[in-house]
Amino acid sequence: MTGGFLSNEDRILGDAFLKDGYIIRAVEDRASLDRIQARMAELAAAQLKLDPPDDPKAFLDDIHSQVGPDKLNAFRLAMIAGINSEPWFRRAYYSLAEKTLASLVGNELAMQRRANLSIQLPGDESSLLPAHTDTWAGDSPFEVVVWLPLVDCRATKSMFILPPAANAKAAAKLSDYNDKGVEALYRDYEADARFLAVDYGQFLLFDQNLIHGNRVNAEKTTRWTFNCRFKGLFTPYADKKLGEFFEPITMRPQTRVGLAYKLPEGFQ
């Protein structure tokens, strides 16, 4: 880490992130989290033509009693469109991890324009995200993911990640799996995979260069998790471009000055 200039708090957090590839913390703005969860439950109830629930968490946990796998993707897309159309949503989402992002990524950030939502019903094989890294599929290695559960997510109801050491071994052998496929890759490194316990009230921030994914949800309740990417505004972009996928959110005054600056002209 940068010697001597980082605060002790930043250094400790940074070391933990580099060691594990992720950190799990309590959200930094509980009121915003509760607002997001309550709105999602309202949107889900409206989509299903039900009254708004008294207990959003229990309602979301039990959504599999209302929605089957055949209707799940259309339902999920309606939820994504609904919450992303709320003008307060992205600011609220950012506030959940604002200080942690500043510590681990920077204070001039670009944020994904539309947060994604994963809904994984118990026993449903249609919503699986096999072992992958986002970088392999066109994301910049400078991005992190803020992963936010709206219900308690543990074991197969959560996601798995390979820690950096195991990930380095797997990534070095990736081309060996070109024909065997990523399921074979997962099987070979399954013993190293960590299923992360992230309860409602916490967020997970992880390095999406590490192999991660999910399995069939073998728990009794439904997973609801958002994922949204953040990166340093001036770090390199890959296939997910500034403007179409990312937007600047925290540009600082001197950057604005610099971007507008023109050297004096007119010399002959």
């Binding site: 599929a137 070109n178 496929g181 890959a238």
Partner: protein, 136 residues
């Protein structure tokens, strides 16, 4: 015993340029969805090919899934492997699985072995054009 019902058509999009051109993944998905809608095909969420050159891991995943699918809808024909023998292996696996391969941009469909020649003609001419003069 009757065979289990097969799901619809898996989209297949990419994260690296094709023939030097880049289309955002959201646009590729729109094109694939629109093709499915116009063709009366049930669209299934797309697999995204990895960014590494000559990597076809996601295509192989979809090919392995074919016995449970009706087929694949690629964003473009030119996402298939550049090497002719690897392309022919793709065609073989599609037909062996009794599935179909569609390409949304070109509107090409591989349903039978007779379709291979037509699709390969397009591929071979395109590869020759890459070496031909670019201006009139």
């Amino acid at each position: 015993m009757s065979e289990p019902a097969r799901a619809g058509y898996r989209g297949y999009i990419g994260s690296r340029p094709v023939l030097g051109n880049r289309a955002p993944q959201a646009v590729q998905n729109l094109v694939v969805r629109d093709y499915c809608q116009r063709s009366g095909l049930q669209y299934l969420l797309s697999s995204v090919e990895y960014a590494m050159p000559r990597c076809y891991m996601m295509l192989n995943e979809v090919l392995a899934e074919l016995p449970r699918l009706q087929g694949i809808v690629c964003y473009t024909l030119f996402m298939l492997p550049e090497a002719a023998d690897r392309r022919r292996e793709v065609y073989r696996r599609v037909l062996a699985a009794k599935a179909t391969l569609h390409t949304a941009i070109e509107g090409q469909v591989l349903r039978t072995a007779e379709d291979i020649g037509r699709i390969e003609d397009i591929w071979l001419v395109q590869q020759a054009l890459a070496r031909a003069p670019k201006t009139l």
